[in-house]
Symmetry: C2
């Protein structure tokens, strides 16, 4: 009687453990259906695109972090004439004295029949942390004034809030995403690629870069957007005699790459508050011995989790994403870098490219290559969470079709427009929230507490690794398995 | 009695089929051991490196195919002074009239403290197929005369012999490889990357590019070498303020990339005799949407197997190779391109990088990625043969350690210096031979008849696919399996 009781109890414990694991890792495909109207670009004369008054008034003003640790910004803008070069003054808010100690350069470019305005980039350094600065561009009646806040000094428990936006474009849905984000408490944007979608137009109409720059100015003039290049930035067009990849993007959007010893603006790193942000380029060479590979190899060694506990990677093409759009396009980079993401215990990888939202469990698949078995992604505590936020709203529309059934690595997925927020609380916890555009209201449709991989590694994991589960099963006497067809089925399914 | 006889007979037939498959696909790791002396670079003043007499005598003369179909050559050389620019005349052999209708340019470069001579590239077009031309470079007493043969007109049954050399360097072993090759009947060399190993030296001593150019001149002045870039050509050296990848290589070695609509000299295609040769760059971007990816996508569509039945790919990093050196470094590119190699039924892929020789069976592994099982390479009739010929002899020495046990995809492997020959007979058959340097004698250590994937696809294959084998086994009554422990073991092993 006693033995029978023990056997039943063991069976039910195993049953419970199995379903607990199944429930914890059951992926969710949201059934939310938004109004299925097409995404249309806002017309050129939209209010969102209206240039400031004045012939040479600075426009498309945007800032980004200017150095490695947040003591500097790069302030950029476009003007019709070159004469506004260097005409930038800045001061601490409420401090009367203005400084114009800045290093500026101006550039312009042509693309097919388009000729850009003058694009100015000014490096403003030696700033104090956690301070509010105002800055003024231009002269006389055309002068425009803005402000920004520098980040807090680096530190492991420094709270900071990042927005994550990708594949924005310039449709009415883009506008809603943008409005929702600017109403949030995001302090800087991690932009995961595919900016203006100007390449959608004949000859990649450069004016659609200008409209985009003006569209996002209400945010970019006041807080840094950290840029990642997407495929829509490549603009490789031999048919237009334009074969220099990323030409408009690299002219318009500066990055502080030299500060992290990079030799290319397409891959670089910054530290901000308690985060170490690494930006990679899906569309540059990344094989072993290439410049990007060498740089990442060295940069990961520089990460100090006692100063910046949160190690975040931005890369346009997802390494794990179960949308049919661009499915498995990240395999090439995954083959190169995934083992490093595990070794260095990256906290999160944010991507775009698939026009939908998805969050994965912590998974890896590093033993599956040419010669070994076991090639299904497995839960892996050392792995980052992979988050796709490619749902900014661009003209290509939503990617509504997912791989079925939902793969085990996928935790949540929904094809809706929106943006994400990563609210870092301290060294141990960060709150990831995905906000769906809900036709006027901000709606949190997914949220997840990310535990820091170094400071709060998962000990009593809510994951029961499959191998432990199988081991537990195998310890049961065969007779128990035989007596329980349900358990037998569960064992086979595990 | 009759039933017993049938069962035994079936068992023995299955046994035979299994062992036939096992024997056909048993990989061979050659046990040949060559003299294990180190590979040392030949000294700068070696005979092999001696410059021609005369202050400005053209040196490092080399030719390559100059167009898509073999009507042109690019003749290149180096001189101390720029004055030899355009001083090239050529004529049909035995035809007195000389022509100087050539298009030339000259370039030079610096690398760290090295300053190159003048590097001349002349395009000589409008040549007749299957003809012998002489050409003369330079003036007066310093003039030097050479010759070359144009290939036959393109055609499906045109016989042609290619040499394959990789990772040559400039050691005494390199000299032996070179001597062995030049004694062969090779008509053009498919060079699979890693040329001079000048980057082995402090500041990548550019003189070691010059020595290498003179070293190989006895072949390169007379027959085209088709260039692939390897990792030793990258020479990305921020510590020397040299961050332009491939700088010396691209200045010195021209390729006819524009003729195949490529926008980069690092990836291109030519057609020669009955072969369509595609050259890829392991160390350039190759992800979807990148220029190389777009170009290959389009180039593969242009392949016409009724004109050039033999589709050959050259790429420095192998996609399949079981040497411990650089093991699985080709996974990133394999993820991008392997399905195309199957779709277009590439005949062979030649690579270098691992300093040894290896030939694979026709295998693929395209269902193994992030989400599915079955990720061990499987025999695949649509797949190319992958051949690594990275054993030219360079200063880094041989890569002697292989993955054990020998993977199923590996047919033959040996860590010895040597070169390969691909002797195309007609549209259906090509003879691949690997010649080991045997301390003075040319020794064929591996040979294989490649059947053309289009014109002689394998019908009655010498491969018994594993699934057929398993199906056959499963048809046996269980009782037979039970009666034969050997068969049972074989079945489990299959």
């Amino acid at each position: 009687m006693y033995r029978k009781l023990c056997r039943s109890l063991s069976a039910w414990i195993m049953f419970f453990l199995f379903w607990r694991e199944a429930l914890v890792h059951a992926g969710v495909t949201s059934s939310y259906v938004r109004k299925l109207s097409e995404s249309k670009d806002m017309p050129i004369d939209s209010l969102a695109f209206r240039p400031p008054s004045g012939f040479n008034a600075p426009q498309q003003v945007h800032i980004t972090q200017g150095d490695y640790d947040g003591h500097a910004v790069i302030i950029s803008w476009v003007s019709t004439s070159q004469s506004t070069l260097g005409v930038l003054t800045y001061s601490l808010a409420n401090d009367g004295s203005e400084s114009n100690d800045v290093h500026c350069n101006a550039t312009n470019y042509t693309f097919a029949s388009y000729k850009s305005g003058y694009i100015h980039h000014c490096l403003v350094g030696g700033l104090m942390h956690d301070s509010n600065y105002t800055y003024k561009l231009g002269k006389g009646a055309e002068a425009r004034q803005f402000w920004f806040c520098t980040p807090p000094k680096l530190g492991p428990d420094v709270a900071y809030t990042f927005g994550i936006i990708g594949d924005l474009g310039q449709t009415y849905d883009s506008l809603r995403t943008f409005e929702h984000y600017t109403a949030s408490n995001g302090q800087a944007v991690l932009y995961v690629g595919d900016l203006s979608y100007a390449d959608h137009y004949p000859q990649h109409n450069g004016e659609r870069w200008d409209t985009w720059g003006r569209f996002i100015e209400p945010s970019t003039a006041y807080q840094p957007w950290i840029w990642t290049a997407g495929n829509h930035e490549i603009e490789f067009s031999p048919e237009l005699d334009e074969i220099e990849p990323f030409k408009p993007f690299l002219h318009r959007y500066a990055t502080p790459y030299a500060a992290s010893n990079s030799t290319s603006p397409l891959w670089y790193a910054i530290r901000r508050a308690s985060a170490h942000i690494i930006v990679l380029s899906s569309y540059s060479a990344y094989g072993k011995y290439t410049p990007q590979w060498i740089w990442l190899h060295d940069e990961l060694k520089r990460v100090d989790r006692t100063i910046t506990p949160w190690l975040i990677i931005l890369v346009h093409t997802p390494l794990y994403d179960s949308n049919r759009a661009h499915y498995m396009e990240g395999e090439g980079m995954r083959a190169e870098f995934e083992t490093w993401f595990l070794k260095y215990k990256v906290d999160a990888v944010f991507s775009g490219h698939a026009h939908a939202y998805e969050r994965t469990h912590r998974v890896s698949n590093v033993v599956s290559y040419a010669v070994s078995g076991g090639c299904v992604p497995a839960h892996d505590r050392s792995a980052p969470v992979y988050v796709t936020v490619g749902d900014g709203g661009n003209i290509e529309g939503l990617a509504r079709t997912y791989i079925q059934p939902q793969p085990e690595y996928s935790a949540f997925r929904e094809a809706s427009y929106g943006h994400a927020i990563l609210d870092i609380k301290n060294r141990t916890h960060a709150h990831l929230m995905w906000h769906r555009n809900d036709d006027g209201e901000v709606s949190i449709a997914d949220e997840f507490w990310i535990q820091n991989q170094i400071w709060m590694p998962r000990k009593s994991s809510d994951v029961v690794p499959r191998r432990i589960l199988k081991k537990s099963f195998s310890k049961l006497k065969c007779s128990v398995c035989e007596q329980s067809p349900l358990l037998k089925r569960l064992l086979n399914a595990a």
